[in-house]
């Protein structure tokens, strides 16, 4: 097992290199970060040149990539434009944990992302929790009562949920629970932001503001998950060992919730493990609609200002999360299901 993990990690590293190169090439045409820097003032041509030089944007793409990757503190760069490289570099490179400095805010990238990451994570983890608990309940119920009314409703619902664009369900739920409820004099939910500025950022406020985004995200995946649990549960319930358990007189409750559910929930681990990092991506649109100050919005803001270090930082973080979660999923799966033996 240990060797398998090491092997998988070693495979993941070149993959991440590859991703970083593809992304870096794509970044080169994102627009001119210096152009949006001056703000109201028009930048003079000489200042423009100087800024590009100071930011290292005048270098060819492979040099920029190299500096991004391993830093430039081992070499000297030309900052004042006299053709002689005299100023020692200060960047340490991604490999040594330095993602550079945001071109927009001049703050370290890790700090910029770190400020927003927790906001995205609480949204995502809460959604994932709702999805798993809800779909386990409904999935097991519809497996035990196959072809019942609820089972049919869930089936129809799963197709709609699967086809639903997140912005539509988000706008719809905002309209119903935010606007119509307010109009009808019912207690209504807040539609935008993370907390009421007047009440301050308290846990209750954040929870209250989280309801609608979590609801929207959950509805999309919930239906598909419960269908999935239903089918694995049905499969397991038809197996011999369940019949044996029943035959030896175990109570039905124990057969279903201990013997069957344990094995039926195994494949869910895979789905959850592969979906979790992708939820970060789904956050882009959700956070935009609900004005949630998370990573998705950070990404959009900085893409529009061609802030390469931050955009690269976010993308590499997500790509790394995807790779790591794939490995973790395989490990957890093998640990849960002793039948699986990975080759050394």
């Amino acid at each position: 097992m240990g060797r398998y993990i090491i092997k998988r990690l070693l495979q993941g590293i070149p993959l991440l290199f590859f991703i970083s190169i593809i992304l870096f090439v794509l970044m080169m045409n994102m627009g001119d970060p210096v152009a949006t820097m001056g703000g109201r003032r028009v930048t003079r041509a000489s200042d423009y040149e100087r800024l590009r030089r100071q930011l290292g944007l005048d270098k060819p793409i492979y040099t920029q990539y190299l500096y991004w990757l391993i830093g430039n503190d081992w070499t000297k760069t030309d900052v004042d434009g006299d053709g002689i490289a005299e100023t020692p570099g200060t960047r340490r490179g991604v490999l040594r944990g330095d993602f550079g400095v945001s071109l927009v805010t001049r703050k370290p990238v890790l700090q910029v992302i770190g400020e927003r990451l927790p906001n995205t994570l609480i949204l995502m983890l809460a959604s994932e929790f709702v999805i798993i608990v809800g779909s386990l309940l409904v999935g097991v119920y519809s497996a035990l009562r196959q072809y019942s009314v609820l089972d049919h409703i869930v089936t129809a619902f799963s197709f709609i949920g699967y086809s639903m664009p997140i912005f539509f369900i988000a706008l719809l739920s905002m309209y119903v629970f935010g606007v119509l409820f307010k109009r009808w004099g019912l207690p209504y939910l807040p539609t935008v932001g993370m907390f009421d500025p007047q009440a301050g950022k308290t846990a209750a406020q954040v929870l209250w503001h989280m309801v609608l985004p979590v609801l929207s995200i959950s509805i999309i995946s919930f239906a598909a998950y419960s269908r999935y649990i239903r089918s694995t549960m049905l499969e397991v319930l038809g197996q011999d060992y369940i019949r044996t358990a029943r035959a030896k007189g175990l109570p039905r409750r124990e057969v279903v919730y201990v013997h069957a559910l344990k094995n039926a929930s195994l494949p869910i681990v895979t789905v959850v493990g592969l979906d979790l990092p992708l939820l970060l991506g789904g956050a882009v649109v959700t956070e935009r609609i609900f004005a949630w100050p998370g990573m998705g919005r950070l990404f959009l803001d900085h893409v529009s200002r061609s802030d390469l270090p931050v955009v690269m930082g976010i993308l590499m973080m997500i790509a790394t999360a995807v790779v790591v979660f794939q490995i973790l999923t395989d490990i957890v799966y093998a640990w849960l299901d002793p039948r699986i033996r990975y080759e050394k």
């Binding site: 590859f18 991703i19 992304l23 994102m30 539509f168 789904g282 882009v284």
Partner: protein
């Protein structure tokens, strides 16, 4: 089987050999498809949506869809404007018709590009194997590791704002339509490539491929005339579902304001900024959103039915 020159022996055949002629694979697939009620429903709704988008153009001219009347801005649905008007007084009904055309065309064109790349990559990797296979599959894997929406945003910036307007059939389209089609195609071929590769890996071991090779058939011909037609079923299913994903991708990227640029309408860019009018003008986002949902839903039903029809063993969950 008797030849037609000897008609009499057929009459003499015992009754049990006079059964119905064997069905072709296509007929069998159609029989299975017909039983799939939801897929038929999806196909019908999809046809209606096409009639809506392309037939509606006969009733409302495009100039009407782009006609702005600021005195009528944000007026609620009425007899004259059944879906209301948008922020600068354009008729939402007419715009959903013309937006539907663009959205559906983008879906179909993007899938053509997606299929082209996916089939090519999958076929080359699966057929030749070795170094080419590992190189192509590493690229596929790398692309799969970045959520599609991020790739779309980055590519929209990469290709954005450089293609001039297109004049076609007497109409003017924003050049961003082409950009969106290309970037959706470029970011969605990976699953198809994997499916095609897997098909090629198993089919190329068959004897008929060996026979083709033994008779000196060129690799090109083996790939495209012998193996590819045998793996067409999963490709069709995947491409059908791909149309739904492409329409969704267009909607997402246009919703973020990075997609097709106005005045060319799409269902996606009609939603851009609509959340600012959540309370005052729900018709702005409700109708385009509903149309997207209906389209994607019926394509998914259709794809599901096709999957069952082509391959009765692989029932979807």
């Amino acid at each position: 089987m008797q030849t037609s020159s000897q008609p009499t022996p057929v009459m003499l055949l015992p009754a049990d050999e006079l059964e119905t002629p064997p069905l072709s694979p296509g007929q069998l697939a159609w029989r299975r498809f017909r039983r799939h009620k939801m897929a038929l429903f999806g196909a019908v709704v999809l046809i209606l949506l096409f009639v809506y988008a392309f037939g509606g153009a006969l009733i409302f001219p495009e100039s009407y869809a782009n006609y702005t009347d600021t005195s009528l801005r944000l007026s609620p649905p009425s007899a004259k404007h059944p879906f209301g008007t948008d922020t600068i007084g354009r008729d939402v009904l007419a715009r959903t018709i013309y937006g539907g055309q663009i959205s559906l065309i983008i879906g179909l064109l993007a899938v053509s590009i997606e299929s082209l790349i996916g089939i090519l990559v999958g076929a080359l990797a699966g057929y030749y194997g070795g170094f080419l296979d590992s190189l192509l599959m590493r690229i596929t894997e790398a692309m799969l590791n970045i959520p599609e929406i991020f790739l779309l945003i980055v590519m929209a910036k990469f290709f954005g704002g450089r293609i001039p307007e297109i004049h076609l059939l007497g109409r003017v389209f924003s050049g961003s339509v082409i950009v969106i089609v290309v970037i959706i195609g470029l970011t969605s071929w990976m699953y198809l490539a994997r499916i095609v590769r897997a098909e090629f890996l198993s089919i190329k071991e068959n004897e008929f491929v060996l026979a083709a090779r033994a008779t000196g058939t060129s690799n090109f011909e083996i790939i495209f005339r012998h193996i590819l037609p045998n793996s067409i079923a999963p490709i069709i299913v995947s491409a059908t579902l791909g149309v739904a994903n492409a329409i969704l991708a267009e909607a997402y990227i246009s919703f973020l304001g990075l997609g097709v640029q106005p005045p060319t309408a799409t269902w996606g860019n009609m939603l851009d900024g609509a959340n600012n009018y959540l309370e005052s003008a729900p018709w702005l986002w409700f109708f385009p959103g509903l149309l997207i949902l209906l389209t994607v839903l019926s394509i998914n039903f259709l794809g599901d039915g096709l999957r069952d029809a082509f391959d009765p063993h692989s029932r979807a969950v």
